[in-house]
């Protein structure tokens, strides 16, 4: 499956297994950069590692400092390979820009549920598309 006409937010290409959530993420409060995992027991990705994933989320919420948490994930080698949002926010855009993690937005009206968990995917931000391979 190819999802084209995505919006390019941060350029580049990244690939990995899809890690999908319908719940927004508060990067400051819910993510441990050193372990690369989601630490909030109430979040559906609790204990899941972001490392090397294609992280698919609606958008980030909460503290403005979340941008540093994204940068720190990269510093510790635990960053996602690429990020896909349904509506990207300033925290995700700025954190990923500094960390040089490719980011795209899904085209308007495309639900997150179109992307399934654990599939191999490649985000080609400059070509404005996501290539998802069914296994």
């Amino acid at each position: 499956m190819i999802i084209s006409n995505c919006r390019r937010i941060v350029g580049g290409t990244g690939e990995g297994k899809t890690l999908v959530t319908k719940q927004p993420i508060n990067f400051l409060a819910m993510v441990n950069a050193k372990s690369g995992t989601i630490t909030d027991p109430l979040h559906e990705l609790h204990d899941k590692s972001l490392k090397g994933s294609v992280l698919i989320l609606p958008y980030a919420i909460g503290s403005s400092v979340g941008a540093y948490a994204i940068y720190s994930l990269k510093e510790y080698g635990n960053a996602p390979s690429a990020v896909v949002c349904s509506k990207v926010d300033i925290t995700t855009a700025s954190g990923c820009a500094l960390a040089e993690i490719p980011v795209v937005d899904l085209p308007d009206g495309t639900p997150i549920s179109i992307l399934k968990q654990g599939l191999k995917a490649r985000v080609e931000a400059d070509a404005r598309r996501i290539v998802v391979e069914f296994s």
Binding site: I9, A67, Y68, Y71, K87, I90, S94
Partner: protein
């Protein structure tokens, strides 16, 4: 987004790498928010000062960034982790790292304000002025009550605006986004500042737009306004509210909804420590606290967080000593959020009146929280 020639050059790294990374950040945000161009800002307020928020990764980044980056506009900064005059049992390694971060910001030319309420500490620019405020309570307060224009910036976008003097022209910087599409209705009378905090948390969580209308509120005192703005900024992406509006879609915030926010955030009935100040307390709140605790003593430890500037003013008029007589203990330059003064090892739970504080105490400090309004706290915990 279109860039001017000198902006393109800066982005390409022709001046220096720090400035190039600042422009990379602005361009990504510009793309994210469909901006056509960059516009000047007059004032940047940066978050990401407390070591507990940005960690070693952030510290190392700022150390490098600040060797060449310099502020291009007035720049103020958020609270850090601790009060240098009262280090208590905060580890030398925390203090060392915290000082490293503080000196990076000072090297850039930022004012060492260590406040999350710049709107109470500094002279305010004219209505309509473009600023870049990363502290979310300050962004919501400034957009909604002061007529300033800022997006709900990230720590990095405000940093980028500080060193470039620019921001993408988008979202709440344009009139269209400042007209709310959804309004929150209430069907019960608010009694305390805590009710406004619960409303704010509910509104931020329920509305994905940048601006929300709050019907059935027509005016706010400073204490209510700060509780509301901080809570809106905590739970979602909303950066502004209006008093009422012509929005078609309505969402009810009734007693049931208020209770459900309480159930989420208030996880204890009682605790061994009280923290007041997220946002840091201003003169109004200190005045109220002094009144509520006059001739009384706190029965539990109580920490009052405020900015150094407000504390110094409070000393001058004898307000600080009145509060200290009640046994409450000031901590300047720092705040409840991610404070190293409150750790899981020392405390199981904390009493606070701040919805924002409750959120971070629970999610980041991993302690339980008893949410109570300031009058109840004074009644229950002083004698």
């Amino acid at each position: 987004m279109e860039l001017a020639r000198d902006e393109e050059k800066a982005l390409d790294g022709r001046y220096d790498e720090a400035l190039a990374s600042a422009y990379r950040i602005l361009v990504a945000i510009g793309e994210a928010t469909d901006a056509q161009k960059l516009v000047p800002v007059k004032w940047a307020h940066i978050s990401g000062v407390n070591y507990n928020t940005i960690g070693d990764g952030g510290m190392r980044f700022l150390e490098k960034f600040s060797t060449t980056a310099k502020v291009a506009v007035k720049t103020t900064i958020n609270p850090m982790g601790y009060d240098r005059s009262k280090p208590e049992d905060i580890s030398p390694s925390f203090q060392e790292r915290q000082e490293n971060i503080a000196s990076s910001y000072e090297r850039m030319g930022a004012t060492a304000s260590f406040t999350c309420t710049p709107y109470e500490v500094f002279d305010l620019p004219q209505k309509g002025t473009a600023v870049s405020f990363a502290e979310s309570n300050a962004a919501v307060f400034s957009n909604s009550l002061l007529g300033l224009k800022t997006n709900k910036e990230s720590a990095l976008s405000a940093l980028a605006s500080s060193v470039t003097g620019k921001t993408p022209l988008s979202d709440l910087r344009l009139e269209e986004a400042r007209n709310p599409k959804i309004s929150i209705e209430t069907d019960f009378d608010f009694r305390t500042e805590l009710d406004y905090g619960l409303l704010g948390y509910f509104a931020g969580k329920s509305v994905k737009d940048s601006c929300v209308a709050l019907n059935s509120i027509s005016r706010l005192d400073t204490i209510q306004a700060k509780a509301l703005c901080a809570a809106i900024g905590t739970s979602g992406s909303c950066g502004m509210f209006t008093f009422g509006g012509k929005s078609k879609e309505k969402i009810l915030f009734g007693k049931k909804e208020a209770q459900s926010v309480m159930d989420e955030l208030s996880t204890a009935d009682d605790a061994d420590i009280i923290t007041l100040g997220s946002p840091q307390l201003g003169m109004n709140e200190l005045g109220l606290l002094a009144k509520l605790t006059e001739f009384k003593k706190f029965t539990k430890r109580c920490i009052v967080f405020c900015s150094r500037a407000i504390y110094n003013d409070a000393i001058k008029i004898g307000l600080a000593s009145k509060i200290e007589k009640s046994g409450a203990d000031f901590r300047c330059d720092s705040c409840t959020c991610l404070t190293p003064y409150v750790t899981k090892d020392k405390y199981d739970a904390v009493i606070t009146n701040s919805v924002k504080g409750a959120y971070y105490l629970s999610k980041s400090n991993k302690v339980k929280v008893a949410l109570k309004d300031i009058k109840t706290i004074a009644e229950e915990y002083t004698q």
